[in-house]
Amino acid sequence: MPAETQPLFAAEGITKRFGGLVAVSDVSFEISRGEILGLIGPNGAGKSTIFNLISGFYRVTRGRTVFQGQDVSSLPIWKLARIGLARTFQHDSLLKGMTVRDNILVATTQFIRNPAEREKRMSETIDIMGLGEVLDEKASNLPHGHQRILSIAIAFSGRPALLCLDEPLTGFNQTEVLGGLDIIRRLREEFATTVLIVEHNMRAVMSLCDRILVLHHGKLLGSGSPEEVQNDPAIIEAYLGKSE
């Protein structure tokens, strides 16, 4: 398949078992280049587990993950990161004891060795994320909104082809949500970044995403455009209807 039409990423029947619990069961989906794909589902549905499988933190029990045409199911995390697959963490997503600047430095240094070019890259990251004012603050001292943005900055520092964001807007007020969405859209427009996002703020997800996957009890319940998902009776029953 030529590179342009090939999906950037594909999960093929991935399954993850923790002892007796099947956290993710036979899930298949593709992510096209340049897409912003949403992954929604109630707490415990298996969203973070899918992130951990995609990014190499967990090994799949069955199935495989394919990134840019290559089977990456058994690659270690750091190698996946270096070939362009990055993720944020739902919890503790920062190097808390380090300054904002050092967080971004550490995240950039594996990708650019030349100090002058690294500086340039870092300023670019800092500009897009709007972190210029807080560079010398310790990450743990930042207000919550800045902390979540910094975790996106860390993952984006290597300019990944696929960026996976695990609940990036949690705890944001309305203005912050708009700012966060704006940043994510800019990453796609200016850097052609493909995004997979888990987020509980339904209004944000519906306005941001091209397509949405719905996960329930570790299984894929359905997928479609935001309108299709919002009008699918099975999905409303399982998730949307109850939570909104």
Binding site: I77, M98, Q110, A155
Partner: protein, 312 residues
């Protein structure tokens, strides 16, 4: 700001020590300076591995590998001081690479116990090795007579340079990667850091420096024995770090100087030396959890706040 001043104080102390060693090479105080320099290097070396979050009791073994490499090469092959130092550093680095690759997948209490076992195995191997002199060790590490007057000053200069090199690395992007691994390993991995390789590298760098210090220790006493390189060396080093403070590179140096002076002038320990150092670690951790440098920094901040408040 305080830390900048401490850096300056470090450089001034080194310059004064080198000058003193050159001016009165035979004085007893030169010996004290040399002991303090070795102690400071041990403290800086053990703290360096603490950057990736590990306590390396095997520090004593790398110190010993340096001492024995230098002793063997000078007595068996008559190699000069400078070559012996370089060889000691290489030996320490190579052993650290193998040991680290095999063990740095573990962390915390597990790594500490394994490194403790390594320290003991090293000592037992030396005791059992006839070519290393067994329990009697190796005697006869000397620098040439014409070089003798410059020896102490050279040791201080070399080890101070290595300590500074550790501090420079700590401040580089590599050093930040060490700290990132300690802070949260998952994030380090997720940004492309090969955590095992970087942890091993950290151990190797520390061990090269420790081994060079070990070689110097052999030339200072003209003798190496298994008893000079027991795990207590690592306990002393930890005492320097805990007393002086862990946050800044000058912490263990301050701790090393204070404890060396105390050992020389204040208290005659005899058999109680180990009890004393153990007590220092315990008391420092209770009364000065951030060490002296950390306490100083807090005081400076407090004073600054007070001044600001009084002014405003």
């Amino acid at each position: 700001m305080l830390f900048d001043k401490l850096n300056l104080l470090f450089l001034a102390t080194v310059a004064a020590s080198v000058a003193y060693c050159l001016a009165v090479p035979g004085a007893f105080f030169v010996q004290v300076i040399l002991w303090a320099t070795l102690a400071a290097t041990l403290g800086a070396g053990i703290r360096f591995v603490m950057l990736v979050g590990e306590l390396n009791i095997g520090t004593s073994a790398f110190y010993g590998i340096g001492g024995y490499t230098a002793a063997y090469l000078t007595t068996a092959y008559g190699l000069p001081f400078g070559v012996a130092l370089v060889a000691a550093g290489i030996a320490g680095g190579l052993v650290a690479a193998v040991f680290g690759y095999a063990t740095m997948r573990t962390s915390g209490a597990y790594f500490m116990l394994i490194s403790f076992a390594f320290a003991e195995i090293f000592r037992m191997l030396v005791v059992e090795s006839d070519f290393l002199g067994g329990n009697n060790g190796i005697i006869g590490l000397f620098v040439s007579v014409e070089y003798e007057p410059y020896f102490a000053a050279t040791v201080v200069a070399i080890l101070a340079t290595l300590i500074s090199a550790l501090a420079v690395i700590e401040n580089s992007s590599l050093g930040k990667s060490f700290i990132a691994i300690r802070e949260r390993e998952e994030i380090a991995r997720s940004v492309g850091i090969n955590v095992l390789a970087i942890r091993v590298l950290c151990l190797v760098i520390s061990s090269v420096v420790i081994a060079v210090a070990g070689a110097c220790s052999g030339f200072i006493t003209h003798l190496v024995t298994p008893n000079d390189y027991t795990f207590m060396i690592a306990v002393f080093a930890l005492a320097y770090v805990k007393l002086g403070g862990e946050e800044h590179p000058t912490g263990p140096i301050l701790g090393a100087i204070l404890l060396t002076l105390a050992a020389q002038y204040l208290i005659s320990f005899g058999a109680y030396q180990q009890v004393f150092f153990g007590t220092v670690i315990a008391v420092a951790m209770i009364l000065l959890p951030q060490g002296i440098t950390g306490r100083l920094r807090d005081l400076v901040r407090l004073t600054a706040k007070r001044t600001a408040r009084d002014a405003g």
